[in-house]
Structure formats: C-alpha cells, structure tokens
Amino acid sequence: MANRVAIVGIGQTFHKSKRPDVNQAEMANEAVRAALTDAQLGSKDIEAVVSSNMEPFEGVYLPDHWMASEMAACGKSGFKVATGGTSGASAVVEAFHLIASGLASTSLVVGFQKHDTGDTQAGMTACMTPVFGSGATTGAISEFANQALVYMEKSGAKEEHAAMVRLKADRGACRNPYAQLKLGLKGVEEILSSGYLEWPIRILDFCPQTCGACALVLASEEIAGKITRKPVWIADTITVHQEPFRAGSFGDPTGLETYSQDVASTKLYKRNGITNPRKDIDMAEIYEPSTWEEMMHYEHYHFCDENEGWKLIEKGITAIEGEFPVNPSGGVLSTNPIGATPVIRVAEAALQIRGDAGEHQVTRDVKTAVATALGGCNWTTMILLRRSL
C-alpha cells in the first residue's frame, strides 16, 4: 500500500512571452520561493527535487545541473524529467512516487521553460526521430491543424465553436493574475477575424510560447498534517505511451492521441470508482494546445460522447460557472511554458480544491479534480486530486 501524498505548497511566476531580465535559474527560483512560502517551509525541509524542462527549446544542456542552487537541490537527491509536453506531469508523478514509496517525506517539483531563448517550433520539428520524417511535419501547429480538420469534418464542429473555446480561455485568463495572454476579447467575431497560421488553425486558436515556471511542494501525510489545514491529496496518477508519430497506429488513422487518452482515462476512472466523469469529477485542467484540441479532449477523456465535444462548449457546460468547468485558469491557450505547463495544470486544479483560485474559482464546489498532459510522442499523463481520501 502506497503512502499518502499531499500537495502542500503551490507557486508560479508571472508568465510573459519574454524575460530578458532573468536567466533560467533566476526565473525558476521565483516559483521555488513562491511554493516554499505557500508551504511555509524552508529549502532545508525539502528532501528531493524533481525538475522538468525540454532542453531542445532553449538549447541549454542539463540546466538542472547549473541551476541546482536556485532549485534548492544542492546536497539532495532528485533528477530532471523530459518527456515532451508531458514533462511537468511526469515530474509530478515522479515526485509523488518518491513519497508514496516512503523514500522521501518531502519533495519539490520545479517545471520551467524560457521560450524567448530559441525557436520552439524548430525544436519541435527536430523532435521527430533524428533521421526520420523531417519535412513531413512542421512543428506542433501542423499536427494540430491536421487533427482539427479531421475533427471538423467528422463531428460537425464549426470554427465558431473553436472561437468559443478561446473566448472561454480568455475570460479565465483575464481573471487569473499569472496568465500570459489576457486579451479581453468581446466575442467570437473578434476571434474569427484573426489570421490563420495553418488551415484551419488561426493565431487565436493556438497557445502562445511563454517564459515561466511553476513549483509544487509535496509531502507525506505526517508532514502535511503538521503544516497545512488544506492539503490536496494526489489520489492516483497514470501514464500511457503510444507508438510515436505514427498515423494509423492502433487503428487510429488520424494520428490523434485517442488511444493513449482512452486507455489512460478508462483505467484511471475504473480504479477510482468514477463511472460518470462529469458527475464524479468536479473540474478539469487539461493540456489543450489548440482550441480544437480542447473539444477533442472532452471526448477522448470521456467527459462526453464521441462527436459531442463542441456541444459542451456551445452549451457553456465547461465555463467557470458551468456544470463541469474546464481550464478556468485560461489554460494552455493563454499560458504555455512547456516544461511548466503540466505542473500549472496540477497547481491550478489543486488551487480549485483548496478554494484558493481567487477570481477564477469555479462556481461548483471542487472536491475532486483531474489534471492531464499530452505530449510528443503521443503520451498521456493524468493526475487525480482529491480534497480528502
């Protein structure tokens, strides 16, 4: 039986497109300090540090080595995790394992990415197998554009629905002090007049490239009981892999992540007694790089039936005040420092459970929340949080 693990400290930086005033280490340190302050712990109280960053985007080799001091890692155990888009979620899972196994009683997760350093889309294109498939795909936008087109034709979703997803994200972001893009959009018309990057993805259909960091302090039940009245428990986690970058694998001709998302959510729900996700879970923070992807994820994570994802957004079900809020923080569409992005999903879901999300606190009382991550090569990671176990 695994030991119980709680999130006892949450901290993030203000997110911006450029941070010429700091280097990676100084930026990550802002989140580390914020999380330790929130946990009312000092760096000496942390036993292990797990960091998350994708090196190809900054071109900085082993950043965890040269920023050990700023991450409170000197003289401690820990490691860096890099699993593409899921890196931050993988780091949370590993930090959770350290305590669940009894090897540590406290651990610190530090996710960071400084996107103003290099060309992220070029880095992403280079993530294809080293010698194979170059030129066939052009970064993340191309992947999601392909999927969006298929979804549009298959489900009957219109560009207006994609615009509604951005509008929802923007309303959340404008209430979230940490979010990067706060556009103050008035309506879908404004979004539908934004230019296309790649058919049918408009610039406002896609996430930005962000500089930012997010840190979490995890603790054993014993420590959590001493330092906080509002622990958020990690009830379960799951990671599922898929054959990388292969359309057609596992009977999925479109190359969507349906296989890994379906396996992950089915298993996670089953072993946690979740039969009706929208009823048994109170809110979700999902990794949605594009507006279209969010509607598809509603279906892949079984928040609704197939081809019904766009109806959830149309009916306002996933709005902040809706029946099943999704990404009230503004989500990835508003803020995307990749190594930190899934850590932010967990952080935001935990804030909702604590009731500490401030202006973007959802209307529904959140006792159970789920955070998800997706990433090359079509991995899925899900983390289930609860107010009490």
């Binding site: 005033d21 030129g135 087109l149 970058f245 359309a247």
Partner: protein, 163 residues
Amino acid sequence: MEKEPTQEYIQVKIDTPRPYRWSTGKYLGKLYKEARDRKKLVTNRCTKCKELVYPPQMVCGRCKVEAGQDWVEMSDKGTVVQYTYLIFPRWDPHRGEYYSSPYPSATVLLDSGLYLRSRLEEQDTKKLKRGMRVQAVWKEKGRGRGQDDIEYFRTIEELEVGK
C-alpha cells in the same frame, strides 16, 4: 539620494551550426538503402500480428516481440486522409530552410495499407481535399534521407475500373 541606473539586460547570440552523424540502425537502415538505391519505400511486417511496422523497427509496439525480417515494398500510390497547409512561414532545422505558404502537408494512406506523412505538390489550396488520389514523386538527386527524399505526392487522375 542618487537614482540607481537601470541595468542593461545582456543576451548572448548563438547561431553556429552543429553537425551530427546519426546511425540509422539495422532496420531503419534498410529503408534508407532502398530509398537511396531504388527510390522505393520498404518496411517490415510483424511476424506475429502481420501488421506493418513503420518506420521499420526492431520491436512491434502491439505484440512487444521482435518484429522480424518480413520485408514488404510499399505502393507509391495512395489516398489523402488528412491535410493542412501553411499560412505562416516555418523554419525546419533538419533542412536548414524556411517553408513558405502554402507548403501543403498530408497523411497519405498508401494502397499497401500504410499511413505516411508527407507533402503535396498541389499548391492551389482550393483543390486540396480528403480522398484525393496521389502518387509519390522522388527527388532526382536524393540526399540519402530515406522518406524525406520523396519530393512530394502529386495528384493523379485514375480511370475507374469496371466502367
């Protein structure tokens, strides 16, 4: 009191290329050899589940067994199952070049049952559609880059059989 001067934020620019030499390996190497020598795509079929493994590799993801040496030559004709095109230019570090609009890319279902990601020749975006029939056009002088030596897929007209 004297006001502190604003600090100048220094950034170091790094733009030097880094050369690499990747080993293609026992399985992928066959694809590269056949593409270079015969302008053909080959891949292996899992000896257990009989499904195509692509790009060729040692282990079948489904069966978790050694996929084996059942090599199959792929058809160069296929059907577009999904596509997109650029509107905003994009940098590709593999080729060291910018792709400019429209640069249509697509997933093509080859007649031999393989889903392949590649580019399309058709530059008129109004003519792009799912279900269109296409055929691979190889570069005259390939760079030994395997599938990447397919220049693009060209739209083809086919006589309907049985009419």
